[in-house]
């Protein structure tokens, strides 16, 4: 996805964010891959993975000194699907006017690789949030930002155990939640959710559509009950 902006974005101008974005992109220079701006929402920036640590430093010196979180996204589509491919669910898609296509693109602000790191920072003086993203290459390694924001320490450890992404320069890269002998990285899409494989998910019933011939009848019942209670409360 490139820098295409939906038409309504340009209508509402957000000068504060635009000025900040211009300032940041000037400092980041070539390291800035793409940026998105939607009025009154967090700024979205994607930077090159080599400049990850520097970009965070630049953002910090630009006023984004409040650390929010750091995590990763696995853009691969899970091989097991969403465990919803029951007979019932298949029927549901057919009734739909617009069948949902399986989208393997990497979404808004997405990258070119399977894994993507994202972090959120805040500027207290400007009251603006910033979402920084970068791609993680084949070597599954990225520089730590622990030296810039001390709070990133645990977030990087969590990302390390959940996605298997290592952080260069992190002194204590040990699992945070999982036991040391645990194998695999649970938040990767190819890590199967055992509970769903053992037993089918009963929750699919939750999205059951009311059959058409019953719809009018149910509606009437609800309205009758409503009026019996004295109408509007």
């Amino acid at each position: 996805m490139t820098d295409e902006t939906p038409p309504e974005e340009s209508v509402v101008a957000d000068e504060k964010r635009e000025a900040l974005l211009a300032d940041l992109s000037e400092h980041l220079g070539e390291n800035l891959v793409e940026s998105h701006l939607r009025p009154h929402e967090d700024l979205w920036l994607r930077v090159t993975s080599e400049s990850w640590q520097d970009s965070i430093r630049i953002a910090k010196s630009a006023g984004f000194e409040y650390f929010g979180f750091l995590s990763a996204i696995d853009w691969e589509v899970a091989p097991e699907g969403r465990y919803e491919d029951t007979e019932f669910d298949a029927g549901l898609d057919e009734e739909d006017d617009e069948p949902v296509e399986v989208d393997s693109s990497t979404g808004y602000g997405g990258g070119g690789t399977r894994f993507q790191i994202l972090t959120q920072l805040n500027s207290l003086s400007q009251q603006i949030g910033l979402l920084l993203k970068t791609d993680v290459g084949e070597d599954m390694t990225i520089d730590t930002i622990r030296d810039v924001f001390a709070g990133a320490d645990w977030h990087e450890r969590e990302t390390y155990e959940m996605f298997g992404i290592s952080f260069r320069g992190h002194p204590t890269l040990q699992p945070l939640y999982l036991p040391t002998e645990f194998e695999g990285h649970p938040l990767r899409k190819d890590f199967p959710l055992l509970a769903r494989q053992v037993k089918p998910w009963p929750g699919v019933v939750d999205i059951e559509e009311i059959p058409e011939h019953l719809e009018a009848q149910l509606e009437a019942e609800v309205m009758a009950a409503f009026e019996a209670n004295g109408g509007a409360s």
Binding site: E41, D42, E65, Y66, F67, G68, F69, S71, I73, D74, A78, R82, Y83, E84, L92, V100, D103, G107, Y108, G109, L118, Q120, L124, Q127, G129, L131, F149, A150, G151, D153, W154, H155, M162, P175, L176, Y177, L178, P179, P186, L187, F191, L193, R196, W201, G203, D206, I207, E209, I210, S233
Partner: protein, 390 residues
């Protein structure tokens, strides 16, 4: 000496051994002390491995994961309405407040906005969750320093707030009431008046806590100047909520990043304290609880009429996109980063919980404190274990 008999020889040997034992230099090496996983001060199953030198803590390393439930993974295999069931159980003392940022983020992706009445009732329930949650903290902090009375007061008065939440939502702890596009139901008849009287009681409760604890000499001696967190450290660790404001940082998402709820419609203020110690954290939460009751009072006066549900399809499919939205929850900033691919459920949900960041400062703040202070600092940082482990 010559041993004349076996008996004398044995006596000689044992006396030598006793001397040797006394003369061995006393071992003054470090000691490892495990606080938790089952300890009343850890509100759940947080374990803190402390390395002690005498009474002083050299390092303190929280060890978590005893309660990790994998909500981020589970959200990926559920539909959006089903996710709120899980999300309720993150911070189980202020459940309704957990649902709101998730629903708001999904609404932002769908470009749906809940009608004003729903937004107001959401805000009221949000603030009621805050009162219920913080009330327990206000009493519980007393227990950490050995004052048992406040916690009974807290449980007694929190119940009143929970009753009000239950009357609207049907659930004391896990309301599961917020829906994409609005709320499940409207508020029942007579509820507004009842809530108003409960708010008066909660203000009395705050006064009681002020009398019992804030003015108490022992409480002050145990909390003042203990566990001081300077503002720049707090920001670097991403502390949020009252922990951040107690360090003198004037930042409240309700005011600074209002995502559409009714906070900007009422008159209230953000409380900060310059000290950054355990006492400041208690004091700020006490003021916030009181402020929340005033917010609820004002909101109750002006609930707009109208529908409580916007027009949304029965089967909710969120358009592809990404959104991050956070609100000022009782514990601090709680946010959800939702990645959607246009399915029935989210593709990825990153849950940014306040307690995770708030507790990540423990290794820093515990360095060099004395063992009894570990408990007061932990208590004053105020975390819910479900909020750390998710």
């Amino acid at each position: 000496m010559t041993a004349t008999s076996d008996r004398e020889q044995m006596a000689y040997i044992s006396s030598q051994a006793a001397d040797a034992r006394v003369n061995v230099e006393l071992d003054t090496g470090d000691m490892t002390l495990n606080i938790g996983p089952q300890h009343p001060a850890t509100h759940g199953t947080l374990r803190i491995a402390c390395q002690l030198d005498g009474e002083q803590v050299i390092t303190a390393e929280p060890i978590m994961g005893y309660m990790h439930r994998g909500y981020e993974k589970l959200c990926e295999v559920r539909t959006y309405p089903q996710c709120t069931t899980l999300i309720n159980r993150i911070d189980w003392l202020g459940s309704f407040a957990n649902e709101v940022p998730f629903i708001l983020a999904a609404e932002r992706l769908m470009e749906v906005e809940a009608p004003p009445r729903a937004q107001w009732i959401r805000t009221i329930l949000f603030e009621l969750s805050r009162v219920a949650n913080l009330a327990l903290f206000l009493g519980d902090m007393g227990v950490q320093i050995g004052a048992l009375t406040p916690v009974f007061f807290a449980f007694r008065d929190r119940e009143r707030v929970l009753n009000q939440i239950e009357e609207v939502t049907g659930g004391r702890f896990h309301p599961n009431f917020d829906r994409i596009g609005g709320l499940k139901d409207d508020i029942p008849k007579g509820w507004i008046e009842e809530t108003r009287s409960v708010m008066i009681k909660m203000r009395t409760f705050c006064d009681e806590m002020e009398d019992l604890l804030v003015g108490n000499e022992i409480f002050q001696a145990r909390c003042r100047g203990v566990g001081v967190i300077p503002p720049e450290v707090a920001l670097g660790y991403g502390l949020s909520g009252a922990n951040l404001r107690a360090s003198g940082v004037d930042w409240d998402l309700r005011r600074d990043a209002n995502p559409g709820l009714a906070w900007d419609q009422v008159d209230w203020r953000v409380w900060t304290h310059p000290d950054g110690d355990s006492f400041a954290r208690y004091w700020v939460r006490l003021q916030e609880t009181r402020e929340a009751t005033h917010i609820v009072d004002q909101l109750l006066d002006g609930i707009p009429s109208g529908p409580i549900m916007a027009k949304v399809p029965r089967i909710i499919k969120v358009p592809a996109g990404e959104a991050y939205l956070s609100t000022e929850n009782p514990l601090g900033e709680m946010g959800y980063y939702i990645v959607s691919k246009g399915d029935l459920g989210p593709f990825r949900v990153k849950i940014r919980t306040p307690s995770f960041n708030n507790i990540s400062i423990v290794p820093w703040v515990m360095k060099g404190v004395y063992v009894p202070d570990v408990i007061t600092i932990l208590g004053s940082l105020y975390f819910i274990l479900g909020d750390i482990d998710r």
